[in-house]
């Protein structure tokens, strides 16, 4: 179980979004290489969906 983090708020309608996925992102630049989670081999992008309007947002895990 991951630790609880702050909920994202939909930038389009203001509703609380649902964090439904974590996607492993492989580094595409030398800058990204510095940010990888060594255990996973990449960076985690959290995917959030808005139940009210269907908008999609994401953020890097840890931000």
């Amino acid at each position: 179980m991951a630790k609880q983090k702050s909920k994202m708020i939909c930038p389009k309608c203001g509703a609380e979004m649902n964090h439904h996925a974590d996607k492993l992102i492989y580094p595409a630049s030398t800058e990204d290489v510095k940010k990888i989670n060594a255990a996973l081999g990449g960076m985690i992008e959290e995917i959030h969906g808005c139940p009210a309007c269907g908008a999609v947002e994401s953020r890097r895990s840890g931000e």
Binding site: H20, D22, K23, E45, I47, G49, P51, C53, G54, S58
Partner: protein, 189 residues
Amino acid sequence: MNSRPLSIPVILGTTRKGRMSTHAARFMVEQITELDGVTTELIDISKLRMPTDDAGDGIKDPAFSEKMALADGLVIVTPEYNHSFPGLLKHILDSCLKEYIHKPAGIVGVSAGPFGGVRVIQDFLPVLRELGLVNIFWDVNFGNVAKVFDESGNLLDQAFVGRAGKFLSELIWMAKTLRYGRDNIALDS
């Protein structure tokens, strides 16, 4: 349950002049249009801004991104070029990621020969998986496509109505189920 209509756009995945896949894509749009509670539109990749001096996020078209974000599922119509998918189709699909996650995608294969795009579909599955899309187990295979549609795009083989219906039934079940999950089921619950 969310009452917004389901959005199932159809992506026409080739830019080649004289493409027969246009007929298949328009046919799929017509089939979806007849369904209650579902909206659709044809997204022709030849109409999209598609720079080739960068890739991924760097070429993201805001209008395409918005359509993918609001989509609940995708129908991807693709011809088979040298046993695989058109490079420009992958180029445009690669421009998005968060927009696709936990959404179903069904593939409609088109070929001039008899195999109906089975090789492009097999090739496409791992790409869709990495993009976060969920594969369905129905395909539509337009083999010998010049015999399936006339030059004006009229369907000559009515069996495709039933095949498309089964494909869409599965896609829409997945779209409803995955929308419920995206809206209501948190990753850690």
